[in-house]
Assembly symmetry: C2
Homo-oligomer: 158 residues x 2
């Protein structure tokens, strides 16, 4: 992959600036959103994100491998997380009708209630620390840019 | 904090689009960069990020609490991570001269060597999956926007 070629295309100062500000602010943002959810609603950001994905999926259920891709997680890490969430009553694992080895995670009524209860805290944080700090033009441009990145990464994952 | 007021300012469709594309592509991007580093250089993305921060700091050392803020980590999580990295020889913990309870993490020569060896893999991934997918205009606008978010979050953390 060119790692050994000695011709590394290092980032320019301008590229470094956008990369560093993006990566550091994202790490700090996730930490902040996590703390607000944990302190006020007793739910972690990563568990909240599982609930959001399932809630948006058809029938409130999603194949585990698909969920792992969407959450940037691995099958094994997600499997532990979903087992924990199942024990707490927020999701349940169900076999897939059309795939003997496949398993889906399904939102329970209790999980849906946790999501409804926690959503205002999360949306308030997303506004205060991200959306409301951006102009409409910045939102449009970033929406386009990140959609492009998402398409690129989804194609790699196929 | 307004959670109970019943007046939640939900995201509009346009705001939801930028938020979802940002958050999902970021999770997938981190997973991808992690896999490339782990498979080719046998280092995790989070350990790599510790090495980068220390390498950029004055004297190759940084106060643990400052490092935790920059990495969006908690003191306890970072403490475990640095203990692991110290056992592997990549960093060492040193007391702070001006603060009896303070501890800093310092890059070792072995840690600096790991960073030099791994950097080409990381930069190649950052280019292929982020920087090279953006126009110069998008880079400028995103650099400005994320610097603003970073300033906001840094002020909250003070």
């Amino acid at each position: 992959m060119g790692d050994e070629s000695g011709e590394v295309r290092w980032l320019t100062d301008a590229e470094m600036l956008v990369w560093r500000s993006y990566i550091v602010s994202t790490l700090m943002l996730r930490q902040r959103l996590h703390r607000e959810l944990a302190e006020r609603q007793d739910v972690s950001l990563t568990d909240y994100e599982v609930l959001v994905c399932l809630s948006a999926a058809e029938g409130g259920a999603m194949r585990m491998s698909e969920l792992a891709t969407m959450l940037g997680s691995t099958k094994s890490r997600l499997s532990h997380q979903v087992a924990r969430m199942e024990a707490a009553g927020y999701v349940k694992r169900v076999p897939l009708a059309d795939d003997r080895r496949g398993v889906a995670a399904e939102l329970t009524e209790q999980g849906a209630a946790l999501l409804r209860r926690s959503a205002p805290t999360h949306v308030e944080g997303v506004r205060a620390h991200f959306v409301d700090l951006l102009t409409e033009e910045e939102q449009q441009i970033m929406g386009r840019a990140f959609s492009r990145i998402l398409t690129h990464l989804s194609e790699l994952a196929d």
